[in-house]
Symmetry: C2
DNA sequence: CTGACTGCAAATAGTTTGCATGACG
DNA sequence: CGTCATGCAAACTATTTGCAGTCAG
């Protein structure tokens, strides 16, 4: 499910955006990783190949890419700044390694039944949920 | 399960803290509500009865109270600053109304099976999870 | 040309830290 | 006394906004 430059460019254009070198650079940095990064960390990495880019551009780019569903945010223990990672816009959740930050996606959250029960009990109309699992990946288990 | 001043004072003292008027004021503000508040909002309310209190004290108090399990944090859609609310320290989750901010707790998250399956599939050792449900409460459904 | 995009600098927000002072056992 | 707590001011970090110059169609 590799997205080509063309597809991404098309997707951007559909929404009135352009695929600029900066946006491309951000996408490159993020898509080659399996963990999550802060805006600042993305900035650092992008800067290496693209000195002179502004941190502001990173923020704006992330906003656009997230809007198109090419990225999504992650909440992490302790602080909950807006960490981000790559992934298309299907309903899914994250399993995050507290050791190395690696993120694994999964789609089946098995919450329907729970939502229905709570809806019955509380009268709430369910709209959405936030689910993230934390643990240690095999690698980090060895180290610890 | 109302906590008396004495119990709270004892709990604080056990951990080497004191029950000061400021801490008491913060607890009062929070314990009378069913929704979540930002530190700044808590500050505003506490200030009314307790002018001259510092925002810093609110932050420090919240930290202490959270450490003792008298409060806990909430993540909210959009931004995810540290919103807070009252509640004892048992494993539980939040059902949050996107309309009015009301929070309902529930304990049975039915995630064991999911965690076991994912653990088998990915080799992760599960430690913890973050689960929050969002919806509209009965009241807010009427309004909308 | 026009609108989209970028980068800088400045402005905001939210939160933390250092320090002198005061309360209390 | 010695410890903990408070409030102020300052420091920081994270993020957003205003603006002028640039670029592609």
């Amino acid at each position: 499910m590799k997205l080509t430059a063309n597809k991404i460019a098309g997707l951007l254009r559909q929404h009135g955006y352009k695929l600029t070198p900066q946006r491309w650079a951000v996408l490159n940095v993020i898509s080659h990783r399996h963990d999550h990064l802060t805006p600042a960390a993305i900035y650092d990495r992008v800067s290496q190949e693209h000195p002179g880019i502004g941190l502001v551009t990173i923020y704006r780019t992330l906003e656009v890419l997230a809007e198109l569903g090419l990225l999504c945010k992650v909440h992490v223990e302790g602080g909950c700044r807006s960490y981000l990672m790559r992934r298309p816009s299907v309903h899914h959740h994250h399993l995050i390694c507290s050791g190395c930050g690696r993120v694994v996606d999964f789609t089946d959250c098995a919450l329907n039944e729970l939502e229905q029960r709570l809806s019955r009990e509380t009268g709430f109309e369910m709209k959405d949920h936030l689910l993230e699992l934390y643990g240690h990946c095999q690698n980090c288990q060895k180290i610890a």
